[in-house]
Amino acid sequence: MTTVPTTDRVALVRAIATQHLAERGPLMPVLHEVMEELGHIAREDVEAIAHVLNLSVAEVHGVVSFYADFRADPPPAHTVALCRGEACQSVGAEALYADTHGRAADLGAPGDRVEVAEVFCLGNCALGPSGTVDGRLHGRLSRERLDALTEGWR
């Protein structure tokens, strides 16, 4: 991910927030769009959003920190999110999660950070274990299948 200079970044965030000003309850759509454009919501973004939407910095920070999808730090190079819901557990998701979590570093190229995250239900409960690999949904996952899906990372 390319690093956006702070001044440009704040200008972009302000522009995003301004675009949503006319909507009712614009904060969540604004945060989603900042995530999409910039990969994370930095401290200066929070201040800019609060200013444009006429909210307190504490309120925006509170929302950012409440939801699992919003991250305050830059994202890793790659993400594997594995479902730990009951349906996926019934077909071995806990072991798969533990195994994958334990070898996260080996999934990517040297120096690339790979995040193995837990998620609770992707709505693919009849074809578990389910998970996403860099955001793409996969069913019937196994160690071998994950190896194949992440092969290009190494």
Partner: protein, 518 residues
Amino acid sequence: MALTGLAGRVFVPGDAAAVSVGADEVAAAFEAAGAQVVRNGSRGMLWLEPLVEVETDAGRVGFANAEPDDATTIVTGSRDGTTSLLDQRGCIGVVDEHPWLTKQQRVSFARVGIVDPASVADYEAHGGWAGLRRALTMTPADVVQEVTDSGLRGRGGAGFPAGIKWKTVLGAESDLKFVACNFDEGDSGTFADRMVVEGDPFTLIEGMTIAAHAVGASEGYVYVRSEYPHAVAALRRAVDAAYTHGYLGRDILGSGLDFDLHVRVGAGAYICGEESSMLESLEGRRGEVRAKPPIPALKGLWGRPTAVNNVLTLCAVPMILADGGQAYAALGTGRSRGTQVFQLAGNVKQGGIVELPFGVSLRELVGEYGGGTLSGRPVRAAQVGGPLGAYVPATGFDVPMDYEALAESGAMLGHGGIVVFDETVDMAKMARFAMEFCSIESCGKCTPCRVGSTRGVETIDRIIAGQNVQLNLVLLDDLCETMTKGSLCAMGGLTPMPVQSAIKHFPEDFQQREAALT
């Protein structure tokens, strides 16, 4: 039956479950082979996905677990007339004649998997908009009465009569009212909301527009969980098309009704499936539960009267208005009227969507439709109604699936999800997970849920470690009672249900820990 030659289109589901096992690659292969591909929803026979259907003069012929390599053989082979489609790998015959489907009674899922979810015209050709057209000729009070007569109850889990909720909103004085659809389908083992929206999104739009007319709302919000990107895309595409064709916006179908519909996306918080948390999130705040009263029907979104309904509740409405409330009420049993969309999930051989009138037994669902476990081992338990639902032992599977019968047996229907476990399941670990899940997903507003869940994990850990098992079981029971009675919402209030049902029905998984150590 001799089938040769492609009569028309090839259907490759764009449903997320089908895509998760390769449907996109299959669709691309069929397009490359020269077929006209429609990305339909899934028929709900998920173990057969990707299930490709080829339009023929005898109906749509299905090919189960299709792979990209099958495309050329099916398209060119059958065009040349050299091979019969029925002899191709994976052929399951005419899909509409598949016994798994013919035994069902699909009302809410009538069009899912059949229509092109991107086409307004296809929706109309399959009976769409008939309910809205009729509703718009009726007074709001008459529409509410029709829904009341149907006996429709909230499909999100609480089972509250939809007509009574709508009547409250209709009767509330306000210059601004809202309709809000709860599409935060976070329960593990449930995917019906996702599938109906991905496969037949106009039904939800029609249901919400009818609701708007019935309660006097001018704006609607759909709150979709972020884990459902395919559904978000399908719904946004359908909303745009509905605006273009005059089914949303100003003066809908010349009736004078104005209704704007917005799609909003959650951000990974299970608690936002609780209606007041969802309203908080829609307003742009942390998804913390609101104390009731006031009820959302009187003070909901931005303090205005709001009809909050689940996706499946709203998707039952078009049919109720098209065919009349009595037709819907004729299905079902007792005070559970109409059909329920059951979802078979977990360690099950044939997982997917089973829509039937209320009253079918859990045994029939798991055994006959589900075909037992995927692993082939005996079924030990099923969790019914999501992470807050009870674990039912295989010996208790004769329970009829309706709101009252399940409640009487100490379980609940919830959103209709059924997660099957085989004999290898460790019920103490599942009980621990219920508490762990609650501790991760609690909004933190009330103490019984926020602190109780963490204490619950610790107590079950001690039981699993064989420490003072009897005393810790008493402590756990006491903790469960505090959570049940003292929590603000169903998150803390129902987390004890899986925990206590596991202890009740599978005591050996808790007691043997002690025996093993002493």
